[in-house]
């Protein structure tokens, strides 16, 4: 079995480059492909004949990988790694807010038909807070504030659900708890909104 010839290597490189340039402007794609083809042809003329496979590989290596060449046309440079954003997608604030609010409502409002879903509600709340605490959309202080506010909202919601059976003496306490619950949720919502704005940038 014979290996690839120099012509085979060149054709394969140009074919791969054409594929890699698929995301580029069509005019750019054609121009770049033509220029690289000219470059290879001129370089091969300089080396003279007969060409060797090794010489052709060296010529193509000097051009660089097709991905690197194409990156310049589609404004991507594989040499520059994009800054990694830990859990920085737009879904994170949505998941945190929906998870926390659903959990807090379920904790605050007992559902007799679904007696054990309060466990799921706490798991959901803890998961939402873990997500908030792990995401790079928030500063360390915001993460701490948000997590404390979220967990406090859960505890206050639980307290509210229990105290709903209390007597008249407990009413002032219930009012204070309700205010604290509202305040905790407000802090959590503000924190989430900040993260949502950053996710859009």
């Amino acid at each position: 079995m014979t290996g690839p010839t120099p012509d085979d290597l060149v054709e394969a490189y140009l074919r791969d480059l054409d594929d890699a340039l698929r995301g580029a402007d069509p005019e750019d794609r054609e121009e770049i492909l033509g220029a690289v083809r000219d470059h290879i042809r001129a370089a091969r003329e300089e080396t003279g004949r007969p060409e060797t496979v090794e010489g052709t590989r060296a010529l193509l290596d000097a051009l660089g990988s097709v991905e690197r060449v194409a990156a310049g046309a589609v404004d991507r440079d594989p040499g520059v790694r994009p800054a990694r954003v830990r859990l920085g997608g737009g879904w994170v604030p949505v998941a945190v807010s929906v998870g926390a609010l659903v959990a807090v409502v379920r904790i605050a409002v007992p559902v007799d038909a679904l007696p054990f879903t309060w466990v799921a509600a706490w798991v959901l709340l803890v998961a939402a807070m873990a997500l908030l605490g792990s995401s790079s959309l928030w500063t360390p202080v915001e993460r701490l504030t948000g997590v404390v506010a979220g967990l406090a909202a859960g505890i206050l919601a639980l307290e509210a659900s229990v105290s709903s059976f209390g007597d008249v003496v407990a009413i002032p306490v219930a009012i204070l708890s309700a205010l604290a619950l509202g305040g905790s949720l407000a802090v959590l919502v503000l924190t989430v909104v900040r993260g949502a704005r950053r996710a859009r940038r």
């Binding site: 220029a35 000219d38 042809r41 003329e45 000097a62 660089g64």
Partner: protein
């Protein structure tokens, strides 16, 4: 995050290599192969000769360079690149800005020692 040499060079190339192409063309017309070899000979300004061609395409489309096909003494016609008046003005602006930028960077690096 610590940046390795390749990452730093890639960032610097993004802002400077196109002006180096314009600078090469300041004195006359160049063929693509010769520009690529000149800029990639030390591995600093360009990594991979092929990365020149998207750059040349952008410069041509933005009016900084223009091209002309010329007969080759050996083989098919070759495309030569030359600076336009707009490209010359861009290069002059870069040269002034670069000097100030380089001095500011050097001064800052010296302060850190």
């Amino acid at each position: 995050m610590e940046h390795d040499e390749d990452t730093i060079l890639s960032g610097l190339r993004r802002g400077a290599v196109e002006y180096c192409v314009l600078a090469l063309l300041r004195e006359g017309e160049w063929y693509g192969l010769d520009i690529a070899r000149r800029l990639s000979e030390d591995g600093i300004l360009m990594r991979g000769e092929g990365t020149l061609y998207p750059l040349l395409s952008r410069l041509r489309r933005s009016g900084q360079v223009e091209t002309e096909w010329r007969e080759s003494p050996s083989g098919p016609p070759r495309r030569y690149y030359r600076l336009t008046d707009e490209g010359r003005a861009t290069l002059a602006g870069f040269a002034t800005t670069w000097a100030a930028f380089r001095d500011a960077v050097d001064a800052t690096l010296e302060e850190r020692r």
